[in-house]
Symmetry: D2
Subunit: 355 residues, 4 copies
Amino acid sequence: MIQNLVPNTSIETHVVLIASAASKKYGKLEQYLFTDGVKVNWKIESQLDAALKSGMVSTTALSMIGISDYILNNQIDGTLVIADRHETIAGAIASSYLNCKTFHLLGGETSGNIDNKVRYANTFLSDYHFVATKESKSRLELCGIAPELIFQTGCPSLDFLQSSNMLDIVQITEYFGGVGLSVQKLFQGRYVVVLQHAETTSDLDARLQVRSTIDAIDKLSIPALWIWPNSDTGSDEIIREIASARESGKLKNVHFERNLDPELFISILKNSSCIIGNSSVAIRECSLLGVPAVNIGGRQNNRERAPNVIDSDYNFEEIYETVSMQIKNGFYKPSKIYGDGHSGQRISNLLSSLL
Amino acid sequence: MIQNLVPNTSIETHVVLIASAASKKYGKLEQYLFTDGVKVNWKIESQLDAALKSGMVSTTALSMIGISDYILNNQIDGTLVIADRHETIAGAIASSYLNCKTFHLLGGETSGNIDNKVRYANTFLSDYHFVATKESKSRLELCGIAPELIFQTGCPSLDFLQSSNMLDIVQITEYFGGVGLSVQKLFQGRYVVVLQHAETTSDLDARLQVRSTIDAIDKLSIPALWIWPNSDTGSDEIIREIASARESGKLKNVHFERNLDPELFISILKNSSCIIGNSSVAIRECSLLGVPAVNIGGRQNNRERAPNVIDSDYNFEEIYETVSMQIKNGFYKPSKIYGDGHSGQRISNLLSSLL
Amino acid sequence: MIQNLVPNTSIETHVVLIASAASKKYGKLEQYLFTDGVKVNWKIESQLDAALKSGMVSTTALSMIGISDYILNNQIDGTLVIADRHETIAGAIASSYLNCKTFHLLGGETSGNIDNKVRYANTFLSDYHFVATKESKSRLELCGIAPELIFQTGCPSLDFLQSSNMLDIVQITEYFGGVGLSVQKLFQGRYVVVLQHAETTSDLDARLQVRSTIDAIDKLSIPALWIWPNSDTGSDEIIREIASARESGKLKNVHFERNLDPELFISILKNSSCIIGNSSVAIRECSLLGVPAVNIGGRQNNRERAPNVIDSDYNFEEIYETVSMQIKNGFYKPSKIYGDGHSGQRISNLLSSLL
Amino acid sequence: MIQNLVPNTSIETHVVLIASAASKKYGKLEQYLFTDGVKVNWKIESQLDAALKSGMVSTTALSMIGISDYILNNQIDGTLVIADRHETIAGAIASSYLNCKTFHLLGGETSGNIDNKVRYANTFLSDYHFVATKESKSRLELCGIAPELIFQTGCPSLDFLQSSNMLDIVQITEYFGGVGLSVQKLFQGRYVVVLQHAETTSDLDARLQVRSTIDAIDKLSIPALWIWPNSDTGSDEIIREIASARESGKLKNVHFERNLDPELFISILKNSSCIIGNSSVAIRECSLLGVPAVNIGGRQNNRERAPNVIDSDYNFEEIYETVSMQIKNGFYKPSKIYGDGHSGQRISNLLSSLL
């Protein structure tokens, strides 16, 4: 994926992992990069304990300090800041305060969460803008950003959907770890995928947010693959609610994974009957894949959608009904609103000419 | 000034000093607050050594951590983030990441520096917007911010110009510290005021930025009061350049002050023949005072101006000529574009009803 | 326990929680303090993700910054630094660098781990020393510390063993959360207690360290209560190894608890047949209780012991044999080497007179 | 100097600058290293504003985080921690908490200040000890440190006194910057050198500490070279007191320098009539040089001394009298208590064999 991003260029790329990307607790990113031949130049171990209320703030602060040190010691000329996770603002601040050229990827979109605040803050701390959609470009122009600084590149994570060889998920069960339902049973027929993060700006606390999803999945007659949430404030609450549901005998039809190889994950998604939760994957990658999606709560509010997405409240019955309807509907026609599969090449060319 | 901001309300206000505001090195803010009867609830000693390139980044990071601790330990409901200094983003991040209501003061303006980036980042991290000018309100609306979240309150620092009793600056020379020309000589006739910060996004380094101003002031036939720059990256360079000019016998006609009581400073401004440099005071407060201003370099680019402001490059002769012209021109007619003297009351009422 | 520490004195005590003590993830300390009527004045959320190698360093660094802010904002005169956990050095550094009087509790002991380094560093950063044993006092005097600055107070955590009303653990099963074997089955006859932290200076990695204990406990014919490890680097590895053992069907005879009310924990200890692992509780509190202990690995090397402790290597068979022998032996005669039950009062009197 | 430290070895040395060593404000260390052909691998810009009370704490904390990142990203095997400045504990903590081999240079000495606390804390956080004097070795052994871990190497900074070509200070006045008395006048006959840091554990505040020295120097009939203090808490106060003395017409006979090339500084010392203040240079380097020294206040209490050192209180008359007496006395016979000029080679060999 990162290889797609910067092929055949004259740029010297430095890959710096921060926050959850630098912690083994949240998956095997470093291992995937190694497999893809991407060298990690530096790791900043800045992830605070996810149970802390101030975890997002202090993780970002430590990341800023570490990135700043790295930029100065390596005479970095420019920084590519991606999207809208809370820690990404660390890169935007360090880079802009140090007078580096700052490039922002995936600005101009809107969603209903702290992500939205961070995405726009990143935009305004940056000098150049690589956006996914036509609507995003217009929105940035309306904000007063000079049109010549905005480039509609599409979203590079969709390149991957086109280029990757789809794996045979039945033959690769040895790649799975995880707990719960066996992988053999999970993949013996139809299945759904669940991926639900804490919605930090909701009035509902994170345990209540996930409870209705747990009940809906529990009632579904088909197996589910549940991917653990990211390290946002509230993720520990979600994990605890799931653990407590399992201890009381629920979710017997569910296989849980901490993280999956991206290639494997895409194969699984592509074959799934529905994706459920509040991940942007449901809206972005699945637009091109045509996979039916049920989007829960406000975390993705206002994000542009293709027809494959139907929204639901944090309500057990509504989630259950919507998922059932989507499974019945089956695959949608692919939409290219978020990218055409050649974004990486465009971004890489732009970086070469703008740096 | 802060008293004006929150009089007669049901809100419990906490005043937290961070960064240079919490360091004796950069003036006597705490003493002024004490004199005004404003209680400082907490100080966060987060100011890095100003000679460091990463000083702005790490100062902001330490401020974020400290503010976050304070918000959580005191169950703070909302945070008022002011304008655009680099450290202010620490308040915006801590408050928004902790799900506090975040209020931003003086958004929607534009200037040509890192300040501009920070101001817009603050806007997008915030929930409510108290703006100074009509143009600012329109600009935020174009950015997609809901009109009902934007309030044109005017700038509260202009309230002070109206309300304060103007001091007799000749009688108050005992308030002065500083070095250089004696205060008696400074105020015996016409004088100018200089206030020039490092322009962090300029290609010119900070010593060269200030050198042309030094030469222009040195050539002027009337005395000058020079206020030391703030703690931005580059301020040490400016101080060093001034010191070196003094050691080589220049600037004999100049009195230097680290910081002045705001009331005193306004009196001095009001009686001055011209303000020179790149401070926003020249553009904002002086619009209502009608004091002629020469604005140097790009730090205030795109900020709305009343007719009292004339721009100059970092060019010794241009600065000298423009200052001479402004002194000759004399006072301008007061303009109310930045506020009508009742902003504090409006803001205080809004905070009461929105919290 | 803290009440014992400072009763009836003229001192104003501030309780500041840092690191794992301020994270819900590592137990309910704050709740216990509340129950005991102890007010927590401030919390510093400084705990890094336990999976990070640099977690101990950065947690300590953030704690230092937060404690320093607290000391300055509250005009603290003195700081009581306790024992030898890695974060405690944050208090010793902040206090000594700020010229506060610094008191160290439980210096002069020796153990085989990073704890030993931290304990002595704390001693030398401090001004006054409250030690538990006669041997500790002599050791500090040999180090050149003036005898009049060292006070043999005993260890205050042993006061609690004397004063607390022992609970009937059979009647209080409702206090338990946890997973695994039911509490009813755990307490229906004899049982052992396991408490094993990562030994950070061992060549063996944390998962291998705990594996032999898992196997030994698995082979034992009597049930076990296993308390989760603290937040040291390596604790996540231990938790993962236990989880993986459980998934593969081991440890069916074990009840797991994250943390227990101290009073309840002491009752359980007092009635247990053996304590197993590398906690200092086995050596200190259990000396007075006379509970048989099996101490595994090098974490407690060189700590003074009463006859109740027998050591074992990280070796499945040795652990199993030693535990079996200790269970057969039964209770030991109580020893007072670590305290006589009146340490809190002594410490409190000393603080009053030295501050 | 650093070349002496590690010549002809199989070790790969990494040089990491932190705190004031990484700030241009406190001298030209980096430039000297460059001149000596020593590569700086990394800089950690961790120096807080010296006017802050918590500056020493937070500088140390930021240094810890940065060093930890560096150690992990470069698979560092061991860390050499030097002496007793407050920031050095950052290296000792990061290294020991990360299970690196930790070597401490110059332990076992005693002095009367926070330095003493830090030196012993560094010792106990370390695994191996390279000490200067016989007395230091005995003291560490009494502290219970195994004799086989302690090596009497001597102090490597004295190697330099032997090896360096002494410069002709009259011919090199172009190397001087600084302010005050001209260098020509300073070196035209006899002169003294002043170097006085803030004594952080004194009851006297830093301005009062330096005032008596200012008065004594002012009264002296021979010129003085005054080197600015380091970045410790209190240094700004000292600088301010000096500035205020100069503004009021004192110290006209003094040349001030921020920092000098070490080689040049040694030449100047070697030719000076007396060194005055509280720097360890007066006690260590000057023991071998035989230069008369007046040591003021308690900062060097208990440090071993050769006969060249006479102590004085913070008392104008006592300082003046003692300096006059020392000037009259002239040079002392060189003493080798702190090193014989071959310490670097010994240390380098030891590192090779112990890593």
